[in-house]
């Protein structure tokens, strides 16, 4: 009887490598919060007419979205690059697919690994931000791993698809910027979506990425634990992306 699904073996191995080389991650997760607090807090906060949105300091308003963006960017690029690197450069990917593991299990393992790593990074970033920012969060911040997890799942699935399809690393970089930046920027990281014209705002609110940002902001800022709809929509969309990624994987790898 097989106790451990092979997908989890992929996760185990990626986490092993992740922690083995954690010093590179650590550089990022420490630098990023300081960069955020300094540029936004010092740069914008010291102006004579400080910006506030809905009664919150601007930095408080944008911090949840930026943390989310950091998590989903890591999920996307980590999953995509590892897939592409193993497939095109290292050759170790052939060692995996010649084992008794299905396409769905490979895809699930890779997506889960990227998701878990990016959520770990995200939690450390949150801790550091809370330490360096003069801000006391509501208790709902404790629920943030949930929204970060489903959001990372969503972007890890897209990253994996591109990692499977693309042949060159720099293409992933270019396309990644198109995939990650527009929906996160438009999703209201830096402004209130309500300020947009009605039709545009309604359309943007339907985007799962906007729900990710709204959900994160509810937990970080508003103390609102009512994120059920956001979680369900993002999770279901992520699962659809997982199924699509499995189809693409089968088409590309099992030709």
């Amino acid at each position: 009887m097989n106790a451990v699904n092979p997908a989890l073996r992929l996760v185990e191995k990626e986490l092993y490598v992740y922690f083995k080389t954690y010093y590179t991650e650590l550089t990022y997760v420490i630098l990023f919060p300081f960069l955020l607090v300094w540029t936004m807090g010092v740069g914008i906060g010291r102006s004579e007419d400080p910006v506030t949105i809905g009664g919150y300091d601007y930095i408080e308003f944008i911090a949840p979205g930026i943390i989310l963006m950091s998590v989903v960017t890591t999920a996307f690029f980590n999953t995509g690059f590892i897939m592409l690197f193993e497939k095109e450069y290292q050759g170790s990917f052939d060692g995996v697919i010649t084992c008794p593991i299905s396409a769905g299990e490979v895809v699930m393992g890779k997506i889960l690994a990227g998701t878990i790593k990016s959520v770990i990074n995200g939690m450390i970033i949150i801790l550091i931000i809370l330490l360096v920012m003069d801000y006391t969060p509501p208790w709902t911040i404790l629920l943030s791993p949930l929204i970060l997890f489903v959001s990372a799942l969503f972007f890890a699935a897209i990253g994996l698809m591109l990692g499977v399809v693309l042949k060159r690393g720099y293409h992933l970089g270019t396309i990644g910027n198109i995939v990650v930046l527009p929906p996160t920027f438009l999703g209201g990281i830096f402004f209130e979506v309500d300020n947009l014209p009605d039709g545009v705002a309604d359309a943007i609110r339907l985007s799962p990425v906007t729900m990710m940002i709204d959900g994160t902001r509810k937990l970080f800022l508003f103390g609102d634990a009512n994120i059920g709809i956001e979680l369900v929509v993002i999770f279901v969309t992520s699962m659809l992306l997982y199924l699509l990624a499995t189809k693409i994987f089968e088409r590309e790898v099992i030709s």
Partner: protein
């Protein structure tokens, strides 16, 4: 009659108009080392990829140990070991950790894989390098490690896809010894290669493959009998002579004439060479002879160089 482990019936794989594998029929009994010999692009790797479920056949069927290669592909991969053309090493893991990772992907329990990893490392002669970082290994060692990886789960069938390509002669010979040792353990093997000496040395039977079709299938000795005679004589000439008279000579079994080459298959090499030199000596610039090889068989059957 030994049990058939691999059974292939009218297997085909087309990529658009290209028939990479074209109506291949093959049966391989348990314990045999079967060689697929052919030039690059002949369809060898495609056959292996189909047998392990990583390429879908366009038509035809095949089973490995009774398992259907399409419906039961994951189960097929549980009982086969694969040594692909590229080394499948994870550079973030040590040699042993690579093998442990492989064992876990095969759902093996620790108590079993610790032992099989020791055995695999010993077989490929890498016990003393098990804690090494793969990037510090030579090309030959990486290849041996890839073979060890394919053996960890104790496969019934082993696919070796051009296992010695890119290796120096010494590493190549060492690897041949290891493959021979494996065959003594009763593992059925399919080996693809474009090195005739490798196929001749290791394989019980050889299928010569060209343009997706198996054009000849026999033991190495049997294949060479396709070429009548005990020797192959190769001569180069200035293109001014008509060699048709040779066809009538009783020392000629078969012959092929090119613009500046002559190939003669004969059972009487002394007589043939003597005749050539006495009658065409002015036009012939060199004469060479050798025992028939698999490459000669391939050339004879296809008119193409094996390593093309």
């Amino acid at each position: 009659m030994p049990e058939t482990v691999i059974k292939i019936e009218k297997l085909a794989k087309h990529f658009g108009d290209l028939k990479a594998v074209n109506q291949v029929d093959l049966e391989i009994p348990k314990g045999e080392i079967f060689g697929l010999l052919g030039p690059n692009g002949a369809g060898k790797t495609t056959i292996i990829r189909m047998l392990i479920g990583l390429a879908r056949p366009t038509s035809g069927t095949a089973t490995v140990a009774g398992l259907d290669i399409v419906k039961d592909s994951v189960e097929v991969r549980r009982i086969v070991g694969v040594v692909p053309q590229t080394n499948v090493l994870d550079r973030e893991l040590t040699v042993r950790a690579n093998l442990v990772y492989h064992a876990k992907l095969h759902s093996m329990k620790k108590i079993r894989y610790e032992k099989t990893i020791d055995n695999a490392l010993e077989l490929v002669g890498m016990t003393d390098r098990q804690d090494a970082d793969p990037i510090t290994l030579s090309g030959g060692m990486k290849r041996r490690m890839t073979i060890a990886k394919a053996l960890v789960h104790e496969p019934e069938v082993l696919f070796l896809d051009e296992p010695t390509t890119g290796l120096d002669p010494q590493s190549k010979r060492a690897l041949w010894e290891r493959v021979s040792a494996l065959s003594k353990k009763g593992i059925t093997m399919i080996l693809t290669t474009h090195y005739m000496e490798e196929a001749e040395l290791l394989c019980d039977r050889i299928g010569i493959i060209d343009q997706g079709r198996i054009i000849a299938l026999d033991t190495p000795r049997g294949l060479k009998k396709i070429l009548k005679g005990e020797a192959v004589i190769d001569a180069t000439h200035d293109g001014t002579v008509d060699f048709s008279v040779l066809k009538e000579k009783d020392f000629t079994e078969d012959m092929e004439v090119g613009p500046d080459t002559l190939r003669l298959y004969t059972a009487k090499k002394k007589e043939a060479i003597s005749y050539l030199l006495s009658n065409f000596g002015d036009s012939i610039s060199s004469v060479d002879f050798h025992e028939p090889t698999l490459e000669d068989v391939f050339l004879h059957l296809t008119g193409k160089e094996l390593r093309g």
